[in-house]
Symmetry: C2
Subunit: 209 residues, 2 copies
DNA sequence: GGTAGTTTTTGACTGTGAGTCGTAAACCTC
DNA sequence: GAGGTTTACGACTCACAGTCAAAAACTACC
């Protein structure tokens, strides 16, 4: 996330097919490596991989026509970067707002949309926020992250209550003076767990005892 | 689902590696076909594919050691069969209760577990039940399906209220005499939509106006 | 130093969804 | 018709989430 919007890292192709169109980072799988190792290897050519807080597999795309020049499958991964980190990227690579994409190569436009949907789902029934928020944050900051990712307004009051009740976030005890115009200093929170944990969505139909 | 338990179709390998172990149906991808086409093609060798009510991609497994004899990726799919249908299967192929698996080949044991988790999630925040339940059913029948799939008790009262409020199921108006020992005849329901539809899980943090 | 303005926090109120339980309804068998 | 069985329905309660308003804590300015 940058500038209040969800952004995705794309690089501009210099060669056909899809010359000048923007593509997701990635490349060919080598023998003996897993898909995730391959993703990290290719990503390392563009950014500092240590700054990617969470990686998960999205889906595998197999339409024979997805690449007009060759028969190629692609397994898409979703990687998240914390707000505040601003990895240095090479010249051909740039962050793009996810709701205002340039022309994309292959089926990468659809992949980006699928990634956003996955993120939206994960944000509501897991602690995935830890991968987007900085290590510590105020509620106003966290709210902005959720607004950008979910694409709609989020009430700070509700956000706090929900995430605290689910024991997803906890106050650190510190306070932090708020932005430019003064105002009451905000409590500083952190995510309790910085690894993905699903908050049980089956509470619905499960008996309480 | 058969005999009140969630079951999975496996076939017994006749050759190494994993001779005599049980494997998921599947096979190699051919040029020009999508993964889903390939799955259906290989599945057709085992069962009547028309009886599979829903198919979705699970994940792609890429551990180099998953097959000790070759370097092979596998994309797993989840396929669901309605209760009541009992597709004829060849001799080497059999249904196995998902919580009592025989020795499995490759990483297929883990894949089956992942499939069950996916199913459990989908049952609670989508209308995925349509793919497991027969075209029309009583609440008691539907309840059994949910119990088998979720692995815990489900209250019939709640199940009805929840699914009716979400407009996932609707009464057909018919009644059906209940099992052996008499009893009040049960109302017959059907799923409103027999295609996967996610019931919005974001209601949580979205303002109402 | 006081006053106004900003931002965050807190609590009360409310509506809805969901779990529990008891009772009524509808059917069977004997 | 009596007793047993299964399903349906309604009442009660609790927990959770959305709204709103007021209090708290700070800055900036006069």
């Amino acid at each position: 996330m940058r500038a209040g919007r969800l952004q995705v890292l794309l690089w501009q192709r210099a060669r056909a097919p899809f010359r000048d169109a923007w593509a997701l980072p990635g490349g060919l799988l080598e023998g003996g490596e897993t898909l995730e190792e391959s993703i990290r290897r290719h990503l390392a050519a563009k950014v500092d991989v240590r700054e990617i807080s969470h990686v998960e597999q999205l889906a595998t795309y197999s339409d024979p026509d997805r690449d007009p020049t060759a028969w190629e499958l692609a397994t898409a991964y979703l990687g998240l970067v914390e707000l505040g980190l601003d990895p240095h990227v090479p010249d051909d690579t740039r962050w793009h707002p996810i709701d205002d994409l340039p022309p994309t190569a292959f089926d990468h436009g659809a992949i980006v949309l699928a990634g956003r949907e996955r993120l939206r789902g994960k944000l509501s029934y897991s602690n995935a926020g830890f991968a987007l928020a900085p290590p510590t944050f105020t509620l106003a900051e966290l709210r902005e992250v959720y607004v950008a990712a979910l694409g709609h307004e989020v009430s700070a009051t509700n956000l706090r209550r929900v995430l605290e009740r689910r024991a997803v976030i906890e106050p650190t005890g510190e306070r932090r003076p708020s932005g430019r115009a003064g105002g009451r200093p905000a409590e500083v929170f952190r995510f309790r767990d910085r690894h993905l944990a699903i908050t049980d969505p089956f509470a619905a139909l499960r008996p309480r005892r």
